[in-house]
């Protein structure tokens, strides 16, 4: 196991923990940039210190060493936005992230659980050397989405580009491209966010009727 993979497995859970702490009522005023830097130092210590014989990444890697690049980037951005007060991604860009995550989740996980055409497994498209022609659907779709978003000035497209760069550099334990763009956590959050967005729109439309 490469060291990068080892520490990466703890990165997203720690980001999630940080995000949760940021949203505890009453703690908001402590979340300036200086506090975020101190937290980063603290987190590094926590990662390296042993927790019940082994350091934290040892435990988190047991469950998954492949949290997606997109999810980790989104979480980091959310934390930095809250800490700094800057908008790195606009509301529209966040919505794009949720819609992309929800679409990827539906396509990937439905077939991963054996649903759909008997010979079709969307996950196999993430290994371009196995299904080279067929995998163009995955890589082509992501390329078109990223290009369109870039053209529209939507910065979520750059996160997809980041995922591709990580895939080329074999940053994660997995060789499958899907694992760089989506993971179960991102899928769950995206699906909930999309339902929330759609639900609130339906509710608004219904309540605006005379």
């Amino acid at each position: 196991m490469k060291d990068t993979v080892f520490y990466w497995s703890a990165f997203t859970p720690l980001l999630l923990l940080t995000w949760v702490f940021q949203h505890i009522p009453g703690l908001r005023r402590w979340w300036g940039l200086a506090a975020a830097t101190m937290l980063a130092v603290l987190v590094t210590g926590v990662v390296l210190l042993p927790w019940m014989p082994a350091p934290l990444p040892w435990w988190s890697a047991s469950l998954s060493a492949d949290f997606s690049i997109v999810m980790a980037a989104l979480m980091l951005i959310a934390i930095l936005q809250r800490a700094s007060g800057c908008t790195f991604l606009t509301r529209c860009e966040w919505q794009t992230a949720w819609i992309f995550g929800a679409c990827a989740a539906v396509v990937l996980y439905s077939s991963a659980f054996g649903v759909g055409p008997q010979n079709f497994d969307a996950y196999a498209l993430g290994w371009p050397w196995l299904f080279w022609r067929e995998s163009l659907w995955l890589f082509g779709s992501c390329a078109l989405v990223a290009a369109f978003l870039t053209w529209r000035g939507n910065r979520f497209g750059y996160l997809l580009l980041l995922a591709v760069a990580a895939h080329i550099g074999r940053f994660q334990e997995s060789e499958n491209f899907w694992d760089y763009i989506v993971d179960p956590l991102y899928a769950a959050v995206s699906l909930m966010a999309v339902f929330w967005i759609l639900g609130s729109r339906v509710f608004r439309r219904a309540s605006s009727r005379p």
Binding site: P57, W58, T150
Partner: protein, 397 residues
């Protein structure tokens, strides 16, 4: 996600934005384009092994227990491989119980004309935890592969949570026929936190090297898959393709008929059906027909099959019995798995369990087989075509 200060959006002219978008699109397609060279290796076809059975060979049948001195409460899921020099290596998992923390992978060897060596613990849970740098609950389901240079590969699962559905696949290599093993590496084969990918049956060698290893999922559904292990830059790359979806047919055995054609036999977990399932591929394992009943019973137990030197298929399976796995029988098919005829009973005893047959055919055309007996023993059986013919004619039935 709202905040106080918005970062400025880039204000490129339309032409600049278009150029940037095109550049992003090409960058996104890079991994796909870079894979084109490796893609020439995908689905290369099955290698049909050359077998040279001795003419007019006398009837040969031998059966022995290969872990007679074992005091462990559980030994199961044995695997067997023939090395380039004709020697055999077998492996299985054993410990105080299925899924117990003390379960390890045991290995033993057999020189041509010799006896089985004393089994030794090849891979322990502690070793796997050390190599993978993560927590592991238990080990299981080993499957051996051997390349033409004599390098031995061991695939096995490690459970990270729950039972078998919480397992993932690992691989390690031995340069000296199983005496020592290199670092264990995890294979990421499933998008849902890499849960559930288990091997059980013999791998099929591919044209140009590498293997098609039949594996299965049992996390949310129960369905068969093929793990493609192919050589690349001195190492191996792994990918998985689906044989069928669903909730009941799993633990596939793949029997190649030609370079592009193969039969798949499947264990059946559907309680109201309990029939072995069969499917075929015509394109080197890329796509498979819908599984249908093979005409043999299957009380939710492992099956294995091989192609004999004369073209017949031989299947080892648990037949109908009051208990679930109280016998182990052999059946032969002369029509590529469409119909089967029972030919012999290898084991039968009420109240006992004989299961998980694992068969290979040696270069000499003899069938070699390992299976679990009584929960604690691993048995080895070896027989030739003359013995099968005798059984088929009913001479010794």
């Amino acid at each position: 996600m709202t905040s106080d200060t918005a970062l400025p959006q880039h204000h490129l002219p339309a032409g600049g934005r278009l150029l940037l978008a095109v550049a992003v699109m090409f960058a996104m397609l890079m991994p796909w384009w870079m894979a084109r060279q490796r893609a020439t290796q995908s689905f290369p076809g099955f290698l049909i092994p050359t077998m040279t059975p001795h003419e007019d060979e006398a009837v040969i049948f031998e059966k022995t227990t290969i872990n007679p001195a074992s005091t462990l409460a559980k030994a199961h899921s044995a695997t067997l491989v023939e090395m380039p020099d004709g020697s055999l290596v077998a492996a299985w998992y054993a410990g105080s119980g299925e899924g117990a923390p003390d379960v390890g992978i045991y290995v033993t060897g057999h020189l041509p004309g010799g006896v089985w060596s004393e089994p030794h613990l090849a891979i322990s849970r502690e070793r796997v935890m050390h190599d993978l740098n993560r927590h592991v609950l238990a080990l299981g389901n080993p499957v051996l592969v051997a390349d033409k240079d004599g390098r031995l590969g061991l695939l096995f699962v490690s459970i990270c949570a729950g039972r078998w559905s919480g397992s993932s696949l690992n691989i390690t290599w031995s340069p000296d026929g199983g005496r020592s093993w290199g670092a264990v590496t995890k294979l990421v084969l499933n998008p849902f936190v890499n849960l559930s990918a288990l091997p059980r049956n013999p791998p099929v060698t591919l044209v140009g090297g590498g293997w098609a290893v039949p594996i299965y999922q049992e996390f949310m559904g129960l369905f068969p898959e093929v793990l493609w292990l192919q050589p690349h830059d001195g190492a191996f790359v792994a990918a998985v393709s689906r044989m069928a979806g669903g909730m009941s047919a799993f633990q596939p055995a793949i029997i190649p008929l030609s370079t592009r054609r193969a039969v798949g036999l499947l264990r059946d977990a559907k309680a109201e059906r309990e029939k072995m399932q069969v499917m075929w591929t015509e394109d080197g394992g890329q796509s498979w027909s819908v599984p249908i009943d093979a005409g043999l019973p299957n009380p939710n137990s492992g099956v294995c099959a091989v192609r004999l030197a004369d073209g017949r298929l031989l299947c080892a399976f648990n037949d109908v019995s009051p208990g679930k796995r109280e016998n182990l029988r052999l059946a032969v098919s002369r029509d590529e798995g469409r119909t089967w005829q029972r030919v012999a009973t290898l084991e039968e005893q009420a109240g006992q369990e004989f299961s998980y047959p694992f068969m290979i055919v040696g270069k000499d055309g003899r069938v070699r087989m390992v299976y679990s007996a009584r929960g604690t023993q691993i048995r080895y059986a070896e027989f030739n075509l003359a013995w099968i013919d005798r059984q088929e004619l009913g001479i010794e039935r």
